[in-house]
């Protein structure tokens, strides 16, 4: 009993403690949280607010993807399917039976986890690029199925019934309400990741990423470690999908199960810095505003597609110069400073 209490206290401490991080990082993150918290009160126009919500959503997607892709080093290009499972579970259950949002979330998670478990073992027989292609294919198959199935709304998609007043059962609000809703979800995943990165599983996962043979020689079941992580990532994607459904109030397989979405999720973590806690947040902070402002700006000037080229350039430069992303550049600079001083 006392041992259990101690373990719980330990987990809570790991979840809420940032003491192992440098002071500068802690201050920067605190400033970031304050900024995000007061954002709707500072900015009164609606487009930036929408950008902010999308940023938080993608930061959250990135945090989840960072588990398998960053800490696990397995480039998964099929996270959109899990977002889709969450989104469809929520949208369909609300439109068919009027089930409260909070009950649809665990259902979406369950669907994503069960499906991921079913495909995980054959997929993890593959490595590197082959694994990436397999994840991509599985996600595409699901998208096609959802497009053809009539019972899920097919290509027409699902429209959620709109409530007239702010509603906590179906989680429908104005922009400010959604802002705090996604902010809370983001914080929950962020704190989970803060616990995770210090956990035994995190060390084992990183060992598997860096060298599978060495990991196995230390008693780590390599495949099971990957599968476990893949399931947690799937669950986190489904939560994001559920939010997306009640936020947009309309979903179809082309928006929630699209290949673009899978890639953007992976990019968020990889551009920011895969395998670090700040990476996905940094990545989303760069890619999402870029996507939403640059696309609109250049499109308005008649240069359609230029934003994609700029996008692709950033990705190419990052991939060639520093595969650990922007956070990798910062860490390397810091390390060099340390070596020079030391």
């Amino acid at each position: 009993m006392v041992g259990k209490m101690k373990a719980v206290v330990g987990v809570l401490k790991d979840t809420f403690s940032f003491n192992d991080l440098p002071l500068s990082e802690r201050i920067a993150f605190a400033a970031f949280l304050v900024f995000v918290f007061f954002f709707p009160w500072i900015v009164h126009t609606s487009y930036p607010r929408v950008v902010m919500i999308r940023f938080l959503l993608f930061a959250m997607y990135g945090l989840g993807w960072n588990l398998i892709g960053g800490y696990g080093g397995q480039v998964d290009l099929g996270q959109a399917k899990n977002v889709g499972f969450g989104a469809f579970a929520t949208a369909l259950m609300i439109t068919w039976w009027g089930v409260p949002f909070w009950i649809t979330v665990p259902v979406g998670i369950t669907v994503a986890v069960v499906e991921s478990f079913a495909v995980a073992y054959p997929m993890f027989r593959l490595r590197g690029h082959y694994f990436a292609i397999a994840t991509l294919c599985v996600a595409l198959v699901w998208q096609k199925l959802f497009l053809f199935w009539d019972w899920t709304g097919g290509a027409r998609g699902v429209e959620l019934p709109i409530k007239s007043a702010p509603n906590f059962t179906y989680m429908q609000f104005g922009t400010i309400g959604y802002h705090y809703f996604i902010f809370a979800l983001f914080m929950a995943e962020f704190l989970f990741m803060n616990w995770f990165r210090k956990s035994k599983m995190s060390y084992e996962l990183q060992a598997v990423r860096d060298n599978e043979d060495a990991a196995a020689s230390l008693g780590i079941n390599v495949t099971w470690t990957k599968v476990k992580t893949y399931l947690i990532t799937a669950a986190m994607g489904a939560v994001g999908g559920s939010f997306y459904a009640v936020y947009h109030l309309y979903i179809d397989p082309r928006c929630v199960m699209q290949l673009d979405l899978s890639i953007l999720i992976a990019m968020t973590a990889m551009v920011g810095g895969a395998g670090s806690i700040w990476g996905p947040i940094l990545g989303a902070a760069i890619l999402i505003p870029l996507d939403m402002y640059l696309g609109a700006l250049l499109g308005g000037m008649g240069f359609y597609g230029i934003d994609f080229i700029i996008y692709a350039l950033i990705i190419m430069v990052i991939a060639a110069r520093e595969p650990r992303g922007i956070w990798g550049i910062i860490e390397r600079a810091r390390r060099r400073g340390y070596v020079l001083r030391g």
Binding site: G10, K198, S199, K200, Y203, E204, Q206, A207, R209, D210, N211, D213, A214, A215, A216, S217, L218, G219, I220, N221, V222, G275
Partner: protein
């Protein structure tokens, strides 16, 4: 018998890497496994530690049949190993590399860290604890491999060419370290090596392999005089024109 290998065969397609190898180890022994290149030493190690499934034959560890067990299971049952080609977790620090080993027995992070620090002291690496392994010289990386393997608290430690690439001084240092650990941790050691100076000094008993078979076994002095051994080694060397 502590470890027993019985008539072990391992074939890759048509190539026979191990052709009916049998030997045994008693608890606490230090046994060297030597042989010219391609004799099948590393294959044998991989079969014992579960990286390869033997084509036929059996491996018993502490009287349990462990033939074909996956690597993580043999590790958990008490067989530690180092690799011929160094395998570091390069994004983790030295201390974290060893901690991963300690996590094999310990769930608590801080206890695993303390354990790792103790083991790093044992192999004289306490000062490099926070470095990244790939920043360090080969000799140090070999010690990290050793520390990591020790962290799982193995009863049998198999070392695949731990002295390869080390200079004579480093070789003597690692012999000292291994002797100390052998005594302190009550280990059984099985080593392969090309560096004769190393293997002859540390082993109590030597097994000689050539072309996938065991050709001799005995004390270092006995083995060095056996005709089959001289033939296997010198014949090979002359053939290469060295």
């Amino acid at each position: 018998m502590f470890l027993e290998v019985k008539n072990l065969y391992k074939e890759f397609g048509g190539v026979v890497a191990n052709a009916g190898v049998s030997f045994g180890l008693e608890k606490g022994e230090i046994v060297g496994l030597i042989g010219p290149n391609g004799a099948g030493k590393t294959t044998l190690f991989n079969c014992i530690a579960g990286y390869y499934k033997p084509t036929s034959g059996k491996v018993f560890f502490k009287d349990k049949d462990i033939t074909g067990w996956p690597a993580h299971r043999t590790a958990r049952s008490g067989i530690g190993r180092t690799f011929q080609i160094i395998r570091m977790m390069e994004r983790l620090t030295v201390e974290e590399n060893v901690m991963v080993g300690a996590f094999c027995r310990i769930n608590d992070r801080e206890r695993a860290r303390r354990d790792a620090q103790e083991i790093l002291e044992l192999v004289n690496l306490e000062e490099q604890a926070n470095a990244h392994p790939t920043e360090l010289p080969i000799a140090t990386q070999k010690r990290i491999e050793l520390a990591r393997a020790l962290a799982i608290e193995p009863e049998l430690l198999t070392l695949d060419e731990i002295a390869a690439g080390l200079n004579p001084l480093e070789t003597i240092q690692i012999i000292d370290t291994l002797r100390r650990i052998h005594k302190e941790k009550n280990l059984t050691l099985l080593l392969t090596e090309h560096v004769m100076q190393f293997i002859m000094r540390i082993s109590e008993r030597i097994i000689v392999m050539a072309a996938g078979r065991k050709i001799a076994e005995g004390s270092p002095q006995e083995v060095a005089r056996k005709e089959a051994v001289i033939k296997a080694y010198l014949g090979e060397k002359y053939a290469k024109g060295k």
